[in-house]
Amino acid sequence: MKRTYAIWGGGIVLLTLLAARCAPSAPTAKKAAGGTSDLAVAAQKTYVAPGDLDEYYMFASGGQSGNIYVYGIPSMRHISTIPVYSPYPATGYGFDDDSKKMLGAFTWGDLHHPALSETNGDYDGRWLFANEMNGRVARIDLRDFKTKQIYGPVPNISGNHASAFVTPNTEYSMMASRFSIPLPKGSVAPIDKYATEYKGVVAAIKIDPKSGNMDLGWQILMPPFDFDIGDAGKKVSDGWMFWTSYNAERATGKLETTASQRDRDYIAAIDWKAAEKAAAEGKGDMIGGVRVLDPKKVPGIVYLLPCGKSPHGVDVAPNGKWIVGSGKLQGVTTVFNFEKIQTAIRNKDFTGDEDGIPVLKYESVKEVEVAVGLGPLHTQFGPDDWAYTSLFVDSAIAKWKLGTWEVVDKVPMSYSIGHLAAAEGDTVSPDGKYLVGLNKLSHGRHLSVGPSQPESSQLVDIGEEKMKLLYDAFTEPEPHYAQIIKADKLHPIEVYPKEENHHPLAVWDVKDAGVTRQGDKVTAKVVLVRSTITPTSIEVNEGDTVTVALTNIEQTTDELHGFGLLDYNINVIVDPGETKTVTFKAKTGVYPFYCTNFCSALHQEMQGYLIVNKKK
């Protein structure tokens, strides 16, 4: 008996020793190691001396924060935050009457894909569009970096993930639904009728070429696939729009399994110019207040390209000829040839249909499958036909060449890269130079801040043959897509010129400031200028509806003033030359107000009182 124990015991000791020998304390495979950089090179390439300016702007989506974050490249410094879908007390966004109205009933939005406006397929620096999941699209004016319009929720669209991609001349911001539902919104069908009663939708939001104002365009009824990401065709493929989708199975329930059964899902190719024409001719039906084209009844506007399992990104190369679809559950990315697609459509080279939409024969439209690595998600481009594909599972970026299809280099990302953004890397003329990997995980690469970990964004030098990691930045949650634009394309103003302020309640002289009353509606015209809020006291009665119109009459850069009203949950920031209003119901008492944005040596004295008298 004792001997048996001894043998077992000895065996266990031996096994333990063996195990200790076998498992290294750190991964030995090279690709498993986190990215490192050559200190001297990286420091030189990213160091922007105090007072010097960056070369590029990066506009990064802020995901569920509802914001856009503005970074300088190559320093990766966070310069500014543009609130879009959430209130942001730092700039008073969501507190004044106009921005409150724009936010509507929502206090959040899951912002995924910024889309810079384009002219001839190149960034023109006018506007930035950005989607969010509740079916809305926002327009930010890059003249003043402010959100000017939130459009939506767009009818029939549910889960506006595949958005806000713009066409090459910013004719449309395109969107597609990630979650199919019975239409119109509000109608109900049992979940077991998903395959037939639930519908996907592609929506084209019309953009006014002068003002950028968004308006309802037209829509296309789609099978209940989950549309994921889109990209507009350019140059030879201008006039087309491409969308990835998963769940060609039309499955419900536990989608991670049920929607991953088929080897191929679809990329939908839409001839949007043909659809636009059909809509203009009055084809289609009105559903939910918008003209919806049914491809069954309006043939020739939608085709399906089979693509490797559950594709996530679809990216059109700068020449418009190659369409790169990345099946996220594969080790290859698929390149389609636009000319072959056109030939296949002409020859009716179909293998079947989905709800009347022809499915093109894979072999006829595919150019090549490129073995980029595991879990390819998105592709960006550089000059000279270079392509860069993010690999989520491999946690790396692969560099490969369009045309020769060779994969020439890989750089590890820390960790689990999602989107990537190269300098003007989704336009007709990419700059190369810099690329930012937008990673989902950052663990261990920053000072610990507890369980809520920031995301990581890594700057990569793509100016030479080998990609080189330059810099780690820790970005606000949660960057999905980002776009990088050459700084000299933007010409922001720094004050609102007095001549342009046509606000009916604006006053430009302290002599004109004061309180007027109409019944129980009180309007206070207030002047903000260093270092007084005029009038210094505002007297009203209990129950009055008070509108305070604040004009910052400064015309000096950086002279912002604030108006914080205690106990009323009001804080607005008014930029030089701007007028904003806040409206509230007065409650009895004395409430101090003060300038919330440090403005001058006597900022602290910039204060006053709201005096609300008891009802007589």
Binding site: R530, S531, Q555
Partner: protein
């Protein structure tokens, strides 16, 4: 005594030659510079204003740099020390200087036409008086702005003389004050008139006679 007066009369009665008349006409034309160019420029730098605040003083207006914004900014800053706002209405100079310069120009032309030494001396004296008075007036204006500070000012500073010519440090500001193109033109006018006078003096018509 009689002889001295006679000599003076003869001197004053002397005719101006073509080149002297031409110089006077050029001087008259130069006067028009004050309608185009500023007379004085003040530039102020502070850590918060690395690009500087600029104020150009013309014969008829104040002009701020940065599309006029700089004068507003200077006034905004000055209100903390209780200085009066720099506004065009307070500068009576803007009304009389353009008028006086115009009148001077006409007198210059008259001198060129009459072509008499007496007339040349008249305009030199008048112009000298005008220039000196204008400079004094400008200096006094600066003095008044720096000395009439509101007693209720938030920041109390001792009365001061802003720089008229050159550089002075005022609190966090480096202030530079220099004449501008208009003043240089006015200076050149003096030189031209002086040159005309010296030339006329040298063309002594009696000199040839005496030598003969």
């Amino acid at each position: 005594m009689q002889a001295v007066l006679q000599r003076a009369d003869r001197f004053l009665d002397r005719d101006l030659e073509l080149k002297e008349r031409a110089l006077v006409i050029v001087a008259a034309l130069l006067l028009t510079a004050v309608y185009v160019f500023p007379l004085w420029t003040l530039t102020m730098y502070a850590p918060q204003y690395p690009e500087g605040l600029r104020m150009n003083i013309y014969s008829y207006k104040l002009e701020g740099g940065n599309q006029g914004q700089d004068v507003k900014e200077i006034n905004l800053l000055n209100h903390y020390i209780g200085m009066k706002d720099l506004v065009a209405e307070d500068f009576t100079e803007f009304k009389w200087i353009p008028f006086v310069v115009g009148a001077m120009g006409l007198l210059f032309l008259r001198t060129a036409v009459h072509g008499k030494m007496a007339s040349l001396i008249d305009v030199i004296v008048l112009y000298g008086y005008f220039a000196a008075f204008s400079l004094w007036s400008f200096g006094y204006k600066l003095y008044s702005y720096g000395h009439n500070l509101a007693p209720t000012a938030a920041v109390k500073v001792p009365a001061f003389m802003p720089p008229m010519f050159g550089y002075k440090q005022l609190a966090n500001f480096e202030v530079y004050s220099y004449p501008a193109a208009g003043s240089y033109a006015l200076g050149l006018v003096i030189v031209l008139l002086g040159a005309a006078f010296l030339l006329a003096w040298q063309d002594d018509p009696g000199r040839a006679k005496r030598a003969g």
